[in-house]
C-alpha cells in the first residue's frame, strides 16, 4: 500500500506531499528528503540515457526497514 506520495521539484523542494494520516507524518517527510540524494545519484548516473529512452521509472530506490521508496522522474513541457 502506498503510504506517502510526494512530488518534488527539480530544485529538490516538495511541490506536493501527502501521506496516510498517521501519528508520524513527519517521518515520511524525512524519508522522502533522505531519498533525494539517491534520486540525484540515479538521475545523474543514467540521466542522459533516461532522457533519450523516455524511461521515467527510476525504480526501487532503496529499501528502508519498513518501506520501499519508488521514484518516477517526470518531465513537464514548457
Amino acid at each position: 500500500m502506498a503510504v506517502c506520495v510526494a512530488v518534488i521539484a527539480k530544485e529538490n523542494y516538495p511541490l506536493y506531499i501527502r501521506s496516510v494520516p498517521t501519528q508520524n507524518e513527519l517521518k515520511f517527510h524525512y524519508t522522502v528528503h533522505t531519498s533525494l540524494d539517491v534520486v540525484e545519484e540515479k538521475v545523474s548516473a543514467v540521466g542522459k540515457a533516461l532522457a533519450d529512452q523516455r524511461e521515467l521509472y527510476l525504480g526501487l530506490l532503496y529499501p528502508t526497514e519498513d518501506y520501499k521508496n519508488i521514484f518516477f522522474k517526470i518531465k513537464h513541457g514548457k
Binding site: 530544485e11 523542494y13 513527519l26 517527510h29 533522505t34 540524494d37
Partner: protein, 1131 residues
C-alpha cells in the same frame, strides 16, 4: 543490566585461530626458551599460519572431557549453545600440545633423558584424557643436525624415543638452537598447523556423528547446536567456505525451532550470532551483496519476534544492536577496500540502529513507569548461581527451562519486573543512555560524511539534535539544529524546517535565550512555517509577551522540571535592566514580516526629489504594531529623511488598532513613502539602500530591530519572486492601494544625475570644409532657463578620443582674423562666456582643419533653482557634436614641356623649357584665386621675370586655370641632377569672410642633363618662294674637350640650298662654330627644312635625333607675291 548486555560476545566477533599449547618452555628464566617463544609469537604477519599459541606448564589441567554419551534417547537439551563453549575451544582446549625438551642426539645421559621425556608426554596425555588433542615433541638441540640419513645415531635414537613416548615419527621434531631460529620456527609451526587441522577435522566428524542419534521432536536445539559447532570448528580449521555452509544451515534451523515467549530471546540471540557469523564470512569472501541479503532476511524474520510485550524494549535494543554490528562489519569491509554506494553504506545501518535506540528509550519510558513504591524484588531473580548464564539468551530465573509455559508464573512476574526496573534505571542515569544513543549517531555520522550524502547527514544531525534536547544539553542541540535549519531553509523543506524550529524554540525557551527565542518564534509564525494558525497564534502571543518584557508561556511537551527552571531564568531576564535591545538580521531567515524597498526610479535628476517606497507585509495571525521604521542609505545624511517613528506604549502592542499607520495587518501590504532632495555633491553617484530596520517593541520594554540588508527580501523571497514571474498573468492595472506583493520588485539603488539643461546649442556652418580653409562654425547658445545661467563655459573643438593624427592636424581658434598654425590647440576648453540671461545668445567659434572628424561643443553652466522649497545650485551641461567632412579645394597639375611644347621627361642644362600648371577647382563653392607666385629653387632660373597669370580669378566648380613659365637650368656641377620649384598659391573661398589662404604646391622633380654639344638655328620666321633664306646654325662645344663634329645636310624637295653639304669640323672647348646656309624655298606652305645631321665623333651615344630636337624642323614659306601686292608684303 549494563548497556553492554546486548553486545556480541568477543569470542563470537574474533577470527577463530587454531589453538596450540606449548609446554616445557621456561620463558621467564631460560633465555633460549624465551627466544623460541618470541620467535613464535612476535611479528606474526598475515603470511604466517593462523595459530594462536599459548605457553602452559607441563602439568596444566585442561578442561575435563565429559563422558561420552552413548544414547540420546532420554536426553533433553537445556539450551542451544553454552555460553562457555566458544571460549573453551578458542582458548582452553588445544588442538595440539607441544612438549619442548632439551636433548641432543649425542647426549651422554641419553637413556635417562629419554625416559624423562616419555614421562612428561604421559603427564600431558593424562590431563587430556578423552580428548582428541594431538601431542608432539620438539627436541631443542645445540648442534646443527646432519642431513637426514647421514646421522645413523640420530635416526636410531629418534625411533627409540618415538617408541618410548608412543609418538608417531611425524610428531617428533628437532629444533637446533642456531642462527636460523626463525626459519626453523616457521617450519615447525607449519607442521603444527597440519596437526591442528587434522584435530579440527576429527572434531567436525565427531560432532557430525551425533546426528544419527537425534530425533526431530526432542532434539531440535541440538540440530542448531551441532551445526553451529561444525561451523565454528570449520572456522578454526580455516575452512571458511564450509563454515559458511554450516552456519547457513544452522540459521535455517534456528528459525525452525518452536518459538514461544519463553524462548524467544534465546532464539533471537542465537539467530543474531549465526547471522553475524554469516555476514562476517560473506564480507570476508568479498560477497557483500550476500551479506546484505542475509542481513535483510535476518531482519525480516526477526523484527516481528518481539517476545514478551512487557519487555518490548529488549527487542528494540536487540534490533539496534543488530544494525549497529552489521554497520560495523560493513564499515570494516570498506576500510579494507570495499566500495560502498549511496544506497548501501554503513551510515544507513547506523541510522537504523539509532532509530531503534530511540525507540527503545520511548518504550522503556512507557513500560517502565512504575509507581515509586514498587520495589525491586528480592531475592534478585536475575541473580545466577554462577558468574554467568549457562546458555546464551536464557532467563536467569529459569535456566534450562524449555517448555512453553513458564514453570512458576510468580517468578516470571518478578523477573520481568526486575528487568523493567533495571531498564528504568538506565534512563535515570540519563547521561549513560543518551550518550549511548549519541555515540551511535556520532559513529554513524562519519561514514555518511565519507559518502558525501548531504540529506542523510542532515537527518542524522536532526536526530542528534533531538537527542541532545532530550538529554537537556540544549546548547549542543541548538548548534546542530541551527546548522541543519539553514540547509532545510535553502532547500525549501518547510515541513522539516518547522519541526526543527519547534525543537529549537523549546531549547531557547528552556535556556532563557531571548534573542534565539525571538528569532525562532519570528520564523515559526511566518509564512515558511507549516504550523496551524492556533499554534502560530500561541507563539505570536508569546512573542508579544517577550516584546513587552514579560515571561512567555512555556512551550508544550516540555519537561515540567525544566520548565520550572526556565521560568526562573526568564524572570531573571525580565528583571535585568539593559541588554534589552536586539538586532536580528532577518535576511537569512523567513521572518513573519516581509519587507521590500524600492526607489521609484533607477535614476533621479538632482532637481527632482528622490523618492522611495518601503512595502511591509506581516504573515502572522494577529495584527502587529511597530514603533519605528528606518532606512539606512549609503550616504547617511539622507537617513534622517527616511524614518517613521511613533513611540508606542504597551497597550498599543497588545491591541493595535488596525487603522493606525504603524500597524501591520496580516496579509495586508503597508506602503511607506519617503522623499528627499539629493545633495548637489552626489550628482553622478549612486545612492544605495544599505539596510531597512523595523523596530518592534518599545524603548521602555524590550525592543527588537529586524534588520534587512539591502532593499529587503529574505531567504524565501527570491524564489517566490521567480515563481511569481513564471506564473504572472497580465492583470488589470492594480490600484495603488491594492499592490500585488509579488509584483513589487526590490530596487535598492538609484543614481543621482545632473539636471536636464534648458539651453539650446545651435551650430551653423556650411559643410564640407575645404582643406586648409579657416572653417567657420557659429555656435548659438540660447538659455531657456527661468533665471540667469551663470558661469557659462564652452568647450569647443575636436572631440577627444579620436585618431591622434587628427589632433595634430586640427587647430581651433576663436579669432577668425588670424591664420591657425601648429601652436593652436585642437580643443579649446572652458571658454568663459559669463552669465547668460534668459534668451541671450552670442559666441562664435572658428576652426581650421585638415581631414574629416567629429567636433564637440560642450556648454556647462550653473544655476540656482528650488526643489521642494529648497534652494539648490545645479550644474548643467549640454553636449553637441558634429561630424565634419573636409574636401580638397583644388588640384594642381604640373608638366614640363620644351619650347616646342613637347613633353619633357628631363631638361637640359642651359636649354630653355616651359613649366605649365593647371589649377582645377574641386570646391563646391566658387574659388577666388588671389594670386600665385612662382618660387624657384636655386638650381632653376626664370628666363624672364615670372608673373602670376591667375590673379583675381574666380573658378567655378570644375573650372581650371593654367599658367606657363619659361625656365632654364643654369649649368650644374654634376652631369645630371633634379631641381624643385614651389608655387605658393593664395586663395580664398568666396562664400565667407575668411582671410586669404596660402597653399603651397610642391612641384615634381625633373631630371637635368648636360649635353656635350648644343646646337641652335637662327633663321627668319618665314621664307618666300624663290627668295633666298639665310640660315645660320650655331654649334657650341659644352665640354672641356676638343670635339670633331661631322655634319651633313640632307637634300630636300622643297629647298635648294647653298653651303657645305657635308663637312667635318673641329670645335675647341667652349667655342662656338657657325655654319651659314642659304636655303632657297621652292614651294609655298609649311615645308620641312632640309635635315641637318650632326654626328659627334667623341660622343657616339648622343644621337643626331637628340640634337635635332633643338632645331626647327619646318618653316612657313609664303608664295611668291606679285609685285605691289601689299597684303603679301605686309604678311
Amino acid at each position: 543490566m549494563s548497556p553492554t548486555q546486548w553486545d556480541l560476545p568477543p569470542e563470537l566477533c574474533c577470527r577463530p585461530l587454531a589453538f596450540v599449547a606449548l609446554t616445557g618452555l621456561d620463558v621467564v628464566y631460560n633465555a633460549v626458551h624465551r627466544a623460541i617463544w618470541d620467535a613464535f609469537c612476535a611479528n606474526r604477519r598475515a603470511d604466517r599460519v593462523p595459530i594462536s599459541f599459548k605457553v602452559l606448564p607441563g602439568d596444566h589441567e585442561y578442561p575435563k572431557c565429559r563422558t561420552k554419551r552413548t544414547s540420546y534417547e532420554w536426553y533433553i537439551p537445556k539450551g542451544i549453545l553454552k555460553t562457555g563453549w566458544m571460549n573453551k575451544h578458542l582458548n582452553l582446549v588445544p588442538a595440539l600440545v607441544v612438549l619442548f625438551y632439551e636433548l641432543d642426539w649425542d647426549d651422554p645421559q641419553w637413556k635417562e633423558k629419554q625416559s624423562e621425556c616419555a614421562t612428561k608426554v604421559e603427564i600431558v596425555r593424562t590431563s587430556l584424557q578423552g580428548r582428541n588433542t594431538k601431542v608432539a615433541v620438539v627436541l631443542i638441540q645445540k648442534k646443527t643436525p646432519l642431513p637426514p640419513g647421514e646421522d645413523v645415531v640420530a635416526s636410531e635414537r629418534a625411533s627409540a624415543l618415538c617408541n618410548a613416548c608412543d609418538l608417531s615419527g611425524k610428531s617428533l621434531f628437532v629444533l637446533p638452537h642456531t642462527d636460523h631460529l626463525v626459519g626453523y620456527i616457521i617450519r615447525l609451526e607449519n607442521a603444527f598447523y597440519e596437526h591442528a587441522q587434522t584435530y579440527y577435522y576429527t572434531e567436525i566428524r565427531r560432532v557430525k556423528s551425533h546426528k544419527e542419534f537425534l530425533n526431530k521432536t526432542t532434539h531440535q536445539l541440538l540440530f542448531v547446536r551441532h551445526q553451529f559447532k561444525t561451523g565454528f570448528f570449520s572456522e578454526l580449521k580455516q575452512d571458511t567456505q564450509n563454515a559458511l555452509k554450516y552456519y547457513r544451515t544452522a540459521y535455517g534451523l534456528v528459525h525452525e525451532l518452536r518459538a514461544h515467549e519463553t524462548n524467544m530471546l534465546e532464539i533471537k540471540t542465537m539467530a543474531g550470532f549465526i547471522n553475524y557469523k554469516i555476514c562476517r564470512l560473506c564480507f570476508q569472501h568479498n560477497t557483500p551483496l550476500d551479506a546484505i541479503a542475509q542481513f535483510r532476511k535476518h531482519i525480516d524474520l526477526c523484527k516481528k519476534k518481539i517476545g514478551s510485550a512487557e519487555l518490548a524494549f529488549e527487542h528494540t535494543a536487540w534490533m539496534s544492536k543488530q544494525f549497529q554490528s552489521f554497520g560495523d562489519l560493513f564499515d570494516e569491509a570498506i576500510k579494507v577496500g570495499l566500495t560502498a554506494i549511496q544506497t548501501q553504506n554503513p551510515g544507513f545501518y547506523y541510522q537504523q540502529a539509532a532509530y531503534y535506540a530511540q525507540e527503545r528509550k520511548q518504550q522503556a519510558g512507557q513500560l517502565c513507569s512504575h509507581e515509586p513504591n514498587v520495589g525491586y524484588p528480592t531475592p534478585d531473580p536475575l541473580d545466577t548461581p554462577g558468574a554467568a548464564l549457562d546458555f546464551y539468551g536464557q532467563r536467569a530465573w529459569r535456566q534450562g527451562h524449555q517448555s512453553i509455559d513458564p514453570p512458576d508464573p510468580e517468578k516470571e512476574k518478578k523477573g520481568i519486573l526486575a528487568l523493567q526496573l533495571k531498564e528504568k534505571d538506565i534512563p535515570h542515569s540519563v547521561r549513560v543512555q543518551t550518550d549511548f544513543v549519541i555515540l551511535i549517531l556520532f559513529s554513524s555520522k562519519d561514514p555518511v560524511k565519507k559518502m558525501l550524502c548531504p540529506s542523510h547527514r542532515h537527518t542524522h544531525m536532526v536526530q542528534m539534535g533531538e537527542e541532545y534536547y532530550h538529554a537537556k544539553d540544549y546548547t549542543k542541540a541548538l548548534k546542530l539544529l541551527d546548522y541543519v535549519m539553514c540547509d532545510y531553509r535553502m532547500e525549501r523543506w518547510w515541513s522539516l524546517l518547522t519541526s526543527i524550529l519547534g525543537t529549537a524554540l523549546k531549547c531557547s525557551y528552556l535556556m532563557g535565550h531571548v534573542k534565539d527565542y525571538i528569532t525562532y518564534s519570528m520564523e515559526l509564525v511566518g509564512r515558511a512555517s507549516t504550523l496551524h494558525s492556533e499554534q502560530k497564534s500561541r507563539i505570536e502571543k508569546n512573542l508579544i509577551k517577550v516584546l513587552m518584557n514579560e515571561v512567555p508561556d512555556p512551550e508544550p511537551e516540555c519537561d515540567p522540571l525544566s520548565v520550572k527552571a526556565a521560568r526562573a531564568l526568564w524572570n531573571e531576564r525580565v528583571s535585568l535592566a539593559g541588554s534589552n535591545e536586539f538586532t536580528i538580521e532577518v535576511q537569512d531567515y523567513v521572518p513573519f514580516v516581509q519587507c521590500k524597498a524600492k526607489f521609484l526610479s533607477p535614476s533621479f535628476h538632482v532637481d527632482d526629489p528622490v523618492q522611495l517606497n518601503v512595502y511591509l507585509r506581516a504573515d502572522c495571525p494577529h495584527p502587529l504594531r511597530f514603533s519605528k521604521l528606518c532606512i539606512s542609505l549609503s550616504n547617511q545624511e539622507y537617513n534622517q529623511y527616511c524614518v517613521v517613528e511613533e513611540p508606542c506604549n504597551s497597550k498599543d502592542i497588545l491591541e493595535p488598532s488596525i487603522q493606525e499607520n504603524m500597524c501591520l495587518v496580516p496579509g495586508k501590504i503597508r506602503k511607506y513613502s519617503f522623499k528627499f532632495v539629493a545633495r548637489f555633491e552626489d550628482v553622478g553617484k549612486k545612492i544605495e539602500i544599505t539596510g531597512v530596520d523595523l523596530m518592534l517593541g518599545s524603548d521602555s520594554g524590550r525592543c527588537v530591530y529586524l534588520n534587512w540588508r539591502g532593499g529587503g527580501g529574505d531567504a524565501a523571497s527570491s524564489h517566490e519572486a521567480l515563481q511569481a514571474s513564471r506564473s504572472f498573468k497580465r492583470r488589470g492595472p492594480a490600484s495603488d492601494s491594492l499592490v500585488n506583493w509579488d509584483t513589487v520588485t526590490i530596487q535598492a539603488s538609484t543614481m543621482v544625475i545632473s539636471r536636464v539643461p534648458k539651453v539650446s546649442l545651435q551650430l551653423r556652418h556650411e559643410p564640407p570644409a575645404l582643406n586648409n580653409e579657416m572653417y567657420c562654425i557659429t555656435v548659438t547658445i540660447e538659455s531657456q532657463e527661468n533665471t540667469a545661467a551663470k558661469d557659462v563655459k564652452l568647450t569647443a573643438g575636436l572631440k577627444p578620443g579620436q585618431d591622434a593624427n587628427l589632433t595634430q592636424t586640427t587647430h581651433v581658434t576663436m579669432n577668425g582674423g588670424e591664420m591657425c598654425d601648429d601652436s593652436h590647440p585642437a580643443l579649446l576648453p572652458d571658454i568663459p562666456i559669463g552669465d547668460l540671461q534668459p534668451g541671450q545668445k552670442s559666441l562664435f567659434a572658428r576652426c581650421v582643419t585638415t581631414g574629416s572628424r567629429i567636433f564637440l561643443f560642450h556648454v556647462s553652466y550653473t544655476m540656482n533653482t528650488s526643489v521642494e522649497g529648497k534652494e539648490i545650485t545645479c550644474k548643467c551641461h549640454k553636449d553637441e557634436t558634429v561630424t565634419l567632412e573636409t574636401v580638397v579645394p583644388f588640384e594642381v597639375a604640373v608638366k614640363f614641356v620644351s619650347t616646342k611644347f613637347e613633353n619633357l621627361d628631363r631638361v637640359h642644362v642651359d636649354v630653355p623649357f616651359l613649366l605649365m600648371t593647371d589649377i582645377l577647382s574641386a570646391s563646391p563653392w566658387p574659388l577666388h584665386l588671389v594670386t600665385s607666385q612662382l618660387q624657384l629653387a636655386p638650381t632653376m632660373a626664370a628666363i624672364d621675370q615670372p608673373e602670376s597669370q591667375v590673379e583675381e580669378i574666380v573658378l567655378q566648380t570644375g573650372e581650371s586655370a593654367s599658367e606657363c613659365f619659361s625656365l632654364k637650368c643654369p649649368p650644374v656641377p654634376t652631369g645630371t641632377s633634379s631641381i624643385v620649384c614651389y608655387i605658393p598659391l593664395l586663395w580664398k573661398s568666396t562664400c565667407a569672410e575668411t582671410p586669404v589662404i596660402s597653399t603651397v604646391v610642391t612641384l615634381p622633380h625633373v631630371m637635368v642633363e648636360t649635353i656635350p654639344l648644343y646646337v641652335h638655328a637662327d633663321l627668319p620666321s618665314f621664307g618666300r618662294v624663290r627668295e633666298s633664306l639665310p640660315v645660320r646654325y650655331c654649334m657650341q662645344n659644352r665640354t672641356g674637350l676638343v670635339q670633331d663634329v661631322e655634319m651633313t645636310v640632307e637634300p630636300s624637295d622643297a629647298f635648294m640650298f647653298s653651303g657645305l653639304k657635308q663637312v667635318r669640323i673641329r670645335i675647341l672647348p667652349g667655342a662656338e662654330q657657325e655654319m651659314l646656309y642659304n636655303f632657297y624655298p621652292l614651294m609655298a606652305g609649311y615645308q620641312s627644312l632640309p635635315v641637318l645631321n650632326i654626328t659627334l665623333m667623341r660622343f657616339p651615344s648622343v644621337a643626331p635625333a637628340l640634337l635635332r630636337r633643338f632645331l626647327p624642323s619646318r618653316i612657313f614659306v609664303k608664295p611668291q607675291g606679285r609685285p605691289g601686292d601689299a597684303s603679301i608684303a605686309a604678311a
